[in-house]
């Protein structure tokens, strides 16, 4: 590599500048200066190179520190994003669980309603059958003891008609409710 040969006057000015104002040449240009045969210039160049290297070492350490902090920041940013994504997943899961719970509650309510209807129907049917049986027994008794059966006969047939109609109506309602529940599932 070609070395730079400095003029004596330039060397003198450089040395004076360093002495009076502590100003040095800096950078790679120093490595290109030919110092052969000039002890003073060699010392100037060596000192300037060493000073430059010390500054560079300092700057390198700081830059590395910043670089490592940047990497840490990037990692924590990624971790944050991951956490946010996990949070979103948990939120979605909670939403799904809530929907399932609401569905269960709805099913439970329907089940309770159905049980209530069943109880009402059972009692109603018991009453209907009871009234039917007791009226029939009374009618049969009147027939067997040969009493006037015209009034009780009409009453029995009217009552039996009404009871049968109501019974079928109730059975129809039960079937309807059952069918509706089956569909909604």
């Amino acid at each position: 590599m070609t070395k730079l040969k400095l003029h004596k006057e330039t060397i003198k000015q450089l040395l004076e500048l360093k002495k009076k104002r502590r100003i040095n040449l800096e950078g790679n240009i120093l490595k290109l200066i030919d110092t052969t045969g000039d002890v003073e210039l060699k010392k100037y160049v060596d000192d300037a190179i060493n000073e430059g290297k010390a500054k560079q070492r300092q700057r390198l350490d700081i830059t590395k520190k910043i670089q490592s902090q940047n990497k840490e920041l990037l990692v924590s940013q990624q971790e944050n994003e991951e956490l946010m994504s996990q949070l979103q997943t948990a939120l979605d899961d909670a939403e799904k669980a809530k929907d399932a719970a609401l569905l269960d509650l709805d099913f439970l309510q329907k089940k309770t309603q159905f049980q209530l209807i069943q109880t009402i129907v059972r009692i109603s049917l018991t009453v209907i059958i009871g009234v039917g049986i007791s009226t029939t027994v009374l009618y049969l008794f009147a027939l067997s003891v040969d009493r006037d059966t015209e009034l009780i006969g009409n009453t029995w047939s009217n009552m039996f008609g009404i009871l049968l109609t109501n019974a079928f109506s109730i059975i129809g309602t039960i079937m309807g409710v059952k069918y509706a529940n089956k569909d909604s599932k």
């Binding site: 790679n28 290109l32 430059g52 070492r57 700057r59 390198l60 830059t63 590395k64 670089q67």
Partner: protein, 145 residues
Amino acid sequence: MIESIMLVDDEDLFHLVFEDACSLLDITLSLEALNSADEAEKMFKNWFENGPIKERPECVFVDLNIIGSTFDGIELIRRINFQYGDNVVIGIISSSSEVSEQSKAVQAGAQFWIVKSDEIEPRLEEFLKDYDGYKNKTATFKVYK
């Protein structure tokens, strides 16, 4: 000492680290740092088509993933070696050390792979010792980690 070096890396902070490390270790006097593979390709294309060829850097360090470029570091190495006249020492400098990527780099003509870390100087020193082998094309692909 290497005559001239080109660094292609999207990370500005690494430019400073690399520049200081090269200066402290007296690796080179002339270093050009670029942010994009496209820019580097443009320069090599120009040197190849219009010259002067001697303006090309002697050694090129390429990052693997160069954000903001239309292609990655391995592709840049392939283009320099196969389209723009080769004749430079070229390799990857990356924080990645994936073996599959390394074999792709070898196929593209990469001569070395330096793994980036906080302690880059010892790796560069080791690289410098092997440099003549890369220049003479006698050294085989090596990973510095």
